[in-house]
Every structure is written in C-alpha cells, then in structure tokens.
C-alpha cells in the first residue's frame, strides 16, 4: 500500500459521500414536486366530508405546509444525524419500517447473487470445456436468453409450478428456504447473464494467450488448464460486475417481492410510491445509494490490491476525477435492472 493508493482511496471516499448526499437531494426534489401527499389525499376523499380548516390543521401537524426548501433542510439535517423521520402513510418511524424489511431483502439479494454466480460459472465452464460443436453454441446463447425473459414471467412460472402444482413451498411463508430460493432464481437469472458474459469474454481472451497455448502444448488438459490458469484472471472483473449489479438486485426486488409476497424493501417502495410517502422513499433511495456506493467503493479499493497490473493514478486525458473513474469495460454489459 503506497501513497498513490491512499490518495486514490481518499478521492474515491470523498466522491462516495458527495454522491450519496446528491442522491438524497435529488430524490427529495423529485418527490416533493409531486402534487399531493398521503395526508392530504386521504383527507380530501369526499367520503370524509372534512372542512378546509380541519384539513389545514392536520396538514400543518405534519409540517407539509412549509416551503419546500425548509422541508428539505429539516429533512437533510435530520438525515445527517441518522433520523429518518416518520412515515406519512403509516405514522410509524421510518427507521422501524426499514429495519423490519431489510433482513428479508438482504436474504433475497444474497441468495440471488449466489444463484447468479453459480449459474454464471457453470455456463462459463461449459463454454470452455464442452465439445465445441454441441454444447458451446447453445451455452453462449444463454446470457442473451436470460436477459430477454422478463423476471415477472419467470416468477409467475416458478410459483405456478413449484408452489401450486408441486407444493414445494407455501406462498404464505415467503421467507421459507424454498420460497427464498425460487425468488432468488427469478431475481438472479438476469444478473447471472451479465456475470457470465464477462466471464466468457475473459476466458476467451485468456485461452488465446500465449501461456495457455504453451500449457496446452505441454499436454495440460482443458479442464485442468481452466481450473489452474484461466479461471483466476478471468474472474477478477467479476468483482466489478457484481458490485455494479447490487443496484439491480434492489431494483429487481421491487417486482420479485411483489410476486412472491415477500415483505421487503421492494414491497415497502411499492406501498410508499402509490401513496407518495416521501420520508420512506427518501430513506430507501438514500439507503440504496449508500449500499451501491459503498459496495462499489470496496470493489474499486480491493481491485488494485487483487490485481497488481491495475494502476491507481488517473489515466484519463483530463487528469481529473471524471466519468471514467470506474472500470469501463463492463459498460456494454452493464444493464438497467431487468425486471
């Protein structure tokens, strides 16, 4: 660990903090300009027959009559000391709501990532070691296929077959092991496609290198070559891709949790969006940004340590921290969350 690495680490850290704060302000502005809020919406329901004066008093209790700038300042200053406020929809502390749903989403995302990695490595292995004529072409098409199937279709299919037909899991207990596994499959499939693409690209590249040819000429079998030499260098970019898919796992959870009836961050967002519950959305978006930024920060910090070939000084023409800061290769494979 040298001075240049520390400078690099410091720069990335500052950037991460700035990004999280900007994400917070961005969400606040977007949601605040929405017409209405859950409190006013409920009160204005004509079935209630409230007078304007009654409505004004209740709205003022929630501080929703303040100018946006004041609301933003109050919200931001509370956020900075860890106070996420009170949900406008449920009247419960946001911290409690988020804490209740995080474990379920974490379990789902972790399982989905595991499923994705296993699938991706299996596919990648096949593309290198199956007879070229039979398996390879088909396997190479898998990532494309995985990226083309909407996750909600996969989810509906899995529930129909494994929960209702085979009775393998109960939709009433969405946190059971099997239920989590199948939800993870639906969520993990598009992610596995991205990991597999990077792996296959890397493996193809490595296997054309001179050292691979040398190893082959010395009689090293394809399987041993794969395991001993090709896999490690090809796997390194996976670290970066996985870090980038964190956001996708969270985004995809919106749909998968709804389908599988899981109470997680995704379903919390669903409920909050439909009622414009600003404090909760604010907290979730910020949390997602923090997770994404932290994971990617870790990946960027760990990467140079794993692979000594990586330089840590900015190499771009501008010489400043620009858009190209993060590894650029996987950009084409970098997907918007595929639902």
């Amino acid at each position: 660990m040298n001075a240049s690495y520390l400078r690099y680490a410091g720069r990335r850290l500052v950037q991460a903090v700035v990004v999280v704060l900007l994400a917070y302000v961005f969400t606040f502005v977007v949601i605040s300009v929405l017409p209405g809020d859950p409190v006013t919406n409920t009160l204005r329901n004509p079935e209630n027959g409230f007078t304007e004066e009654e409505i004004a008093r209740i709205v003022s209790y929630y501080g929703l009559d303040q100018p946006i700038a004041v609301q933003l300042w109050q919200s931001l200053s509370h956020f900075l000391v860890g106070d996420l406020g009170v949900s406008l929809r449920s009247n419960l502390p946001v911290t409690r709501l988020v804490a209740e749903v995080v474990p379920s989403t974490l379990a789902l995302a972790a399982s989905a990532l595991a499923v994705a990695l296993v699938l991706a490595f299996a596919i990648a292995y096949g593309t290198q070691n199956l007879p070229r004529r039979y398996g390879q072409g088909v396997l190479r098409a898998f990532p494309s296929l995985f990226l083309s199937v909407p996750a909600f279709v996969v989810g509906l299919l899995l529930i129909q077959v494994f929960a209702f037909q085979l009775g393998l899991f109960s939709v009433i207990e969405p946190d059971s092991a099997w239920a989590t596994f199948f939800a993870a499959v639906a969520l993990g499939i598009p992610v596995s496609a991205q990991v597999a693409e990077v792996l296959i690209t890397g493996l193809d590249h490595e296997s054309r290198q001179e050292y691979a040819a040398v190893a082959r000429s010395r009689g090293l079998g394809q399987a041993r070559l794969f395991a001993k030499h090709l896999l490690k260098p090809s796997s390194l970019p996976v670290v970066t891709v996985v870090a980038l898919t964190v956001g996708e796992l969270l985004g995809g959870a919106l749909i998968i949790e709804t389908i599988f009836g899981r109470t997680g961050i995704g379903s919390l967002v669903q409920r909050s969006v439909s009622t414009q519950d600003l404090p909760v959305l604010q907290a979730v978006v910020s949390l997602a940004a923090v997770v994404f930024v932290v994971v990617n920060l870790l990946a960027d910090l760990v990467y140079p340590l794993l692979d000594p070939r990586v330089r840590t000084e900015p190499a771009s023409a501008s010489g400043k921290a620009g858009l190209g800061e993060a590894p650029e290769q996987p950009i084409l494979e970098r997907q918007v969350s595929v639902p």
Partner: protein, 282 residues
Amino acid sequence: MTATTTVVGSRGVATVRGWSAVVPPTVLVSFAVLLVVLLWSLLPGVLASQDPVNGVPADKLLGPSADHWFGTDHLGRDLFSRVVHGTASSVASALVAVTIGVVVGGAIGLVAGSAGGWADIVLARIVDVLLAIPSFLLAVVIVSWLGFETVNAAIATGVSAVAVFARVMRAEVIKTRRAVFVEASVLQGGSRTHVLLRHVLPNASRSLLALAVLQFGLSILVIAGLAFLGYGDPPPASDWGLLVSSGKDYPTAPWLVYAPALVVVATVLSVNRISRWLRRTD
C-alpha cells in the same frame, strides 16, 4: 479511467470481422423476427383482422385455437389481435426511452468528454448519482412523479438509462480525441467543433448504436415491468406488458400471460442478438 480497462477491453478481445462477413443464421432469424414486429406495428389491421377493442363477450377465456391463435381474454377479445395492435405502442415507447437515453446521455457524455475540467467533474457527479440509484427504482419514482401512463413509463425508463449512455459516450470521446488521426487534425488547425463533428462523433456513434440497440430490448422489458406493477396505460390499450399484467389475474387461462410474454421474449432476444452481432462487427 483506471487501468482495469487495460486489463480487459471488450473491443480488444472482440473478433474483428468486416461487415461483408457472412451473417450468422441466428442473426438472420433475429432480423426476421424484428421485421414481423415492424409489420405488426405498421399494419396491425392487415395482419390481425379481428377487433382488438370490442370482443364477443360470449367467447370469453377461450384457449388458443385456429380461430384465436392466442386465445381470447376475459371480455372475449382475440388476444393475437390485441398483441398485434399493441405492438406499435410497445415499440414506440421503447423507442422514446432509447431516444431520451441516447440524446440526453449522449449530450452529457459529449460535453463531459470534450470539455473536460470542471464541466467534466460536475457532470460526472450527476451521472454518478443517477448510477447510484437502482435504475428500476429510479424509473418507479419518476413514473409516480409524472403519472401512471405508458408514455411516462417510457420517459422514466429513458431517464434511468441516461447515465449508461453518458458514460459510454464520454469514454468514446476521450478515446477518439487521443487517437492519432484526431490529434493530427487538431495540429493542422481544425477547430474544436470541426474535430468534434468530423471525427469524434462518427467514431463514438458506432458503440453508441450497439448500446442503443441493446437498450431498446431492455426498455421493452423495463416498461413491461412498470406496466406489470400497474404503472401503465389503462385498457383498452394493449401494450405487451399490460397484457401480461392483466392476464395474470386469470390463472385458469395461462395463455393470457404466456402468449404476450413469448412475443416479448422473442423480440428482446432478437434485439440482443443483433446488438451483440453489431458489437462484434464494428
């Protein structure tokens, strides 16, 4: 740019072939699928003669048959006809999303890449923010801001893709700027705008095209996902995602889900195949 790029660069490993190279059969099939989709969106009335809006209530929830290739829905409407008539809107909304991504993202990337300095740093942070918010979450927040309609879902999808396009564009611009022939042009006294238009843009647009094609397929999926969650147009609109979404309420008629879903998968798969082929041949 970290040196990760120097370790693995997709373009570096891609097999470079000329455009004249034989077009693989799967790509031909993909083009054929897209041709069908194009015809569906241009001439829906010719290719599906049954009324997509007014059904025969007595014929509700019939399974696929010779009369109704994809079966009928809960109001006795021919599902094939609805899929065909929903094509234009599904394709158009994905195009809107891609256009927003390309234009806005491309502009940001172009400015950041060619201006450098503070503009680059500021734009970089904006793009980082957009990247840090999970794009589907971002799309949901934006669509709830704009209102739950398909066109808004398309806009939201486009905005959530801006960051990706911005990054690619900027990287391409910087790469091209440093290329020998561009530096030569600058040395010969070419104006900044001239260099940008003459050299940087055409070079960058190639990888942008491959990304745009890929993004088109993704946008179909994202918009369908938003429709599935209820953020789409009302009936009798028959966008593909809406068809799947309303079909799921009738588990006794599984074709209502799987027929439009298959159309989505076939379209997106073809688009992905073509995008991959473009990347290999550029």
